[in-house]
Amino acid sequence: VPKPRVEPDSVFLNVLYDLAFERLYLAYIAGLSTLGLAARATLEIPGGERRLDRVFTLLQSCTYSIHDLSRVQLNRTRPATPRFNMPMELGLAIAWSRLSHRKHSWFVFETEQGRALKSISDLNGTDLNIHGGTVAGVMRELCNAFVRRRGGQPNVPQMMRVYRKLRAAVPAIQRRTGADSLFESRMFIDLGLAAGKIVTSERRTES
């Protein structure tokens, strides 16, 4: 099996594709783009292959990964079961970072302090990034996770500006793609492109 090409500025985004998570999903895309990184998600890979293979291939191609465990909750539809996809993908990332020759850094993002450690006690001793379920919190924690010396470190207000612009562009992009939700393959890629364009425009106006 050929190994995927590693992109040095790609971040594997492991989040829940849920309507209630839409704001934070946009925040991650906007925040990462402001930091000069590209968000990647399993959404963008075409189907056909087994899902687990797709996830692992994408994970291998990224230098960083963000695992948001804030939505590991019981869903209401019967039988009530928790969503274990995200902790499982976190496990894959940890294993990959330990066993691979290439450097892979992983981060765990959560809404509440102590909840993830209660459900996954193996993470004890790991510093989690607690964003409190807010967009500004996500931006703050992204700034805590990533430092950029080359080209200047963006701050939270700059990231928030990009987020607002991206949010404003959503209806036009949605109209163009004809997508029902933001969690569609085409939509995700277009959002990533739009965020990149917004960051370029913002940087141009600032300089």
Partner: protein, 114 residues
């Protein structure tokens, strides 16, 4: 007996640590430190190549964002003009006549109503 126990303990202390698999990243720790991004800010073409998107699609998205910016500029400009004109505009004309005086009776009525 004691000697054998001591020997075993001594040998276990000196035991060779288990061999890590080849390529095991020993520098990795679980404590999170900020990661330094060493790559430069990606150009739009670079972002498009990461997502494997055609130039046409990239141009279409750029157009949407540019339209949004130009729209914002156009909506902002009248306000800006208004703000700028406020500084230079002549003050609103004020009626030079003095305000009508309220008679004592009217004042008393108003007080009693209150």
């Amino acid at each position: 007996m004691l000697r054998t126990i001591w020997r075993r303990l001594w040998s276990s202390e000196k035991a060779i640590p288990p061999q890590l698999p080849r390529g095991y990243n020993t520098e990795q720790t679980d404590m999170r430190k900020p990661v330094e991004i060493t790559t430069p800010y990606p150009s739009l073409e670079r972002v498009a190549s990461i997502y494997g998107v055609s130039k046409k699609r990239q141009a279409a998205i750029s157009e949407i964002v540019d339209a949004m910016y130009s729209k914002r500029r156009s909506t902002l400009s009248p306000d800006r003009n208004k703000h700028a004109s406020a500084k230079t505009a002549t003050p609103v004309s004020v009626d030079p006549r003095p305000l009508p005086k309220i008679k004592k009776r009217q004042r008393a009525k108003a007080k009693s109503r209150a």
